[in-house]
Symmetry: C2
Subunit: 353 residues, 2 copies
């Protein structure tokens, strides 16, 4: 029968039970390198247009014919809330003044868009081997279209209840995202951060609850973490932060510097960058505006007003207003190639009987 | 050379690299059973008088001659803060009225006392094989006395910085307490809960930072969790919640019922029971007063005013006002004997090469 890792690799066409976490920020060359090395590279599509997604997939396929994942957000776009956005703009006013930015002229960055009919059409045309969703799943019709295109589907759970919800809707595997993880919390049924669960406790409880491959995420950055996740019953590991220092990621200077100098207790979960809880390295924006702010507009609307500050600060060489996404094991990240990291994570399995 | 588990067992005189976490609540028979089974049983002494500690140690030694640990709190007693305590009493007033309790006549429970000269004298007389401290370490003179009595000393770290602090002060091993853990957070250098680290990320970073045996705690409840902790480099595991359903623990009916019916996402860290952050199963007191309350007096003074409510609720068969301490893997706890659980946790090592 083999172990859950072997079954996962066979079902997903991989050499290694290693998923590179989808991340907005690193260059798509990272996903190609991980896939070419036999892991599952992931392209984060939430801030891309359908044309952008098409171009990235073509670029990846020019480099490797191995499986890869496209990742989408499955949130609902919030209604505009003028009062809250005015309050948020007022809260950011002093920073705009500090950087000499005219609030009227500031260009917002690309919005995080939910998976919609236009994206579903692109997916049907491109037929990526795997599609993964964050923040739940899209409408049943859209999901059915993805499955009809032959894509395997992954969902992300932060609790056993979310894992069961995803399993009932027919996903092919569940990313169990522990509280250590960097970037956006995938939480979608319960919004209470106080109840979010750490990887060590979450993974075995999800493994017990669903009859699906469980991909452990959160705090895994080297072969020790991968071995630990496999010991908990995970069929694979999903790793984000540790890939950020790989050459292929082309990380921004500010983010790289923050990662290289931060320690275990230098991250927090914040809502100030997008309106939804996400873990990053503590910086000025998080300290002064949050890290959790009741004023931040609903996801993803908080992001637009912060974007000009981020651009101005980064132009001055500072990451004070950038989302420096990182999990709690970011200090274990090392420079190197994505292929070496993928193989080294997979070698965690060699530590188990 | 052997592995860190074997070295830890040899240094501490154990058959199994398993520490039963000190817990106020379960009966001391639990510690005796774990020690007799070859693990390290721990007696939580923070709510005991010196005479009480002496009696428990005598009772344990009547049952087994194997090593055990005495655990003490190393906090500083706060000055009385009449305003804050008045505000807290006012906050609790409606509950007193609901239970028909006269605030003037209510008896506070036993206070959590810091390790002091009187306790140091008892330790010198009893010479327990191991003394473990929570919330840092006691004054250097008191600590020197403990060491001079031949006791091995364990300290508890929730961050790498705390682990280094403890290592510099000469402890013999470090409990790395991940955020999943039940009961009081051992945090003593940084009081910011937002920066507390999960077990998966914390353990390998502490292992890398100190040249001492690291005992992993938090979210470990079965052989899978123990194997995972060992894979991260831990020399031993410290397990609390999973022992609570053992027959020897003699757990209260309210606590047992809560444990048997709660899931992965049913705990939170709260300050309402003692004034210091501690993880327990969400109940009425935590939901309505917190889980974090700025009104709660400084540790341990928040506890006294809640005690009469706890007593009245428990007399009516309810755990609404009881601290239902539990880690995030409490749902993995099973009934059985402490010896069987100890051996089953130790067997996690058999899963590693």
């Amino acid at each position: 029968m083999g172990n859950p890792r072997a079954a996962f690799c066979e079902a997903f066409g991989l050499d290694h039970p290693v998923v590179q976490a989808p991340m907005i920020g690193p260059k798509p060359a990272l996903a190609a390198a991980v896939s070419a090395a036999g892991g599952l590279g992931s392209i984060a599509c939430a801030a891309m247009s359908p044309e952008g997604v098409r171009a990235e997939v073509e670029a990846l396929r020019a480099r490797t014919d191995r499986p890869f994942a496209l990742n989408f957000f499955a949130h609902t776009r919030p209604a505009a809330d003028a009062d809250r956005e005015t309050a948020w703009a007022r809260r950011l006013g002093p920073y705009y003044a500090e950087f000499g930015i005219d609030p009227g002229s500031a260009a917002p960055g690309p919005e995080r868009l939910p998976f919609d009919a236009a994206m579903a059409e692109v997916v049907s045309a491109l037929r990526p081997p795997v599609v993964s969703f964050h923040f739940g799943l899209p409408d049943p019709d859209l999901l059915a279209g993805v499955r009809a295109s032959g894509c395997l589907v992954l969902g992300c759970a932060t609790t056993v209840a979310e894992a069961r919800w995803l399993a009932e809707r027919g996903v092919d595997g569940i990313v169990a995202q522990g509280y250590e993880a960097g970037g956006h919390r995938g939480m979608f049924l319960d919004r209470d951060l106080a109840r979010q669960v750490g990887t060590m406790a979450l993974v075995p409880q999800v493994v017990d609850a669903v009859e699906l491959p469980v991909i452990a995420a959160g705090g895994i950055a080297d072969a020790r973490g991968a071995a630990a996740a496999f010991a908990l019953g995970a069929a694979a590991v999903q790793v984000g932060t540790a890939y950020l220092l790989c050459a292929e990621a082309g990380l921004s200077a500010a983010h790289r510097r923050a990662l290289e100098t931060s320690g275990d207790a230098d991250t927090a979960v914040t809502t100030v960058f997008t309106g939804r809880p996400a873990r990053g390295i503590l910086n000025r924006a998080m300290r002064e505006l949050g890290p959790i702010s009741p004023d931040a507009p609903a996801f993803p609307r908080a992001a637009a007003a912060l974007q000009p500050l981020r651009a101005a600060a980064e132009a001055a060489g500072s990451g004070d207003f950038s989302p420096l996404w990182s999990g709690q094991a970011g200090a274990l990240a090392r420079t190197g190639t994505a292929a070496d990291l993928t193989r080294s994570l997979a070698a965690g399995a060699d530590r188990l009987r």
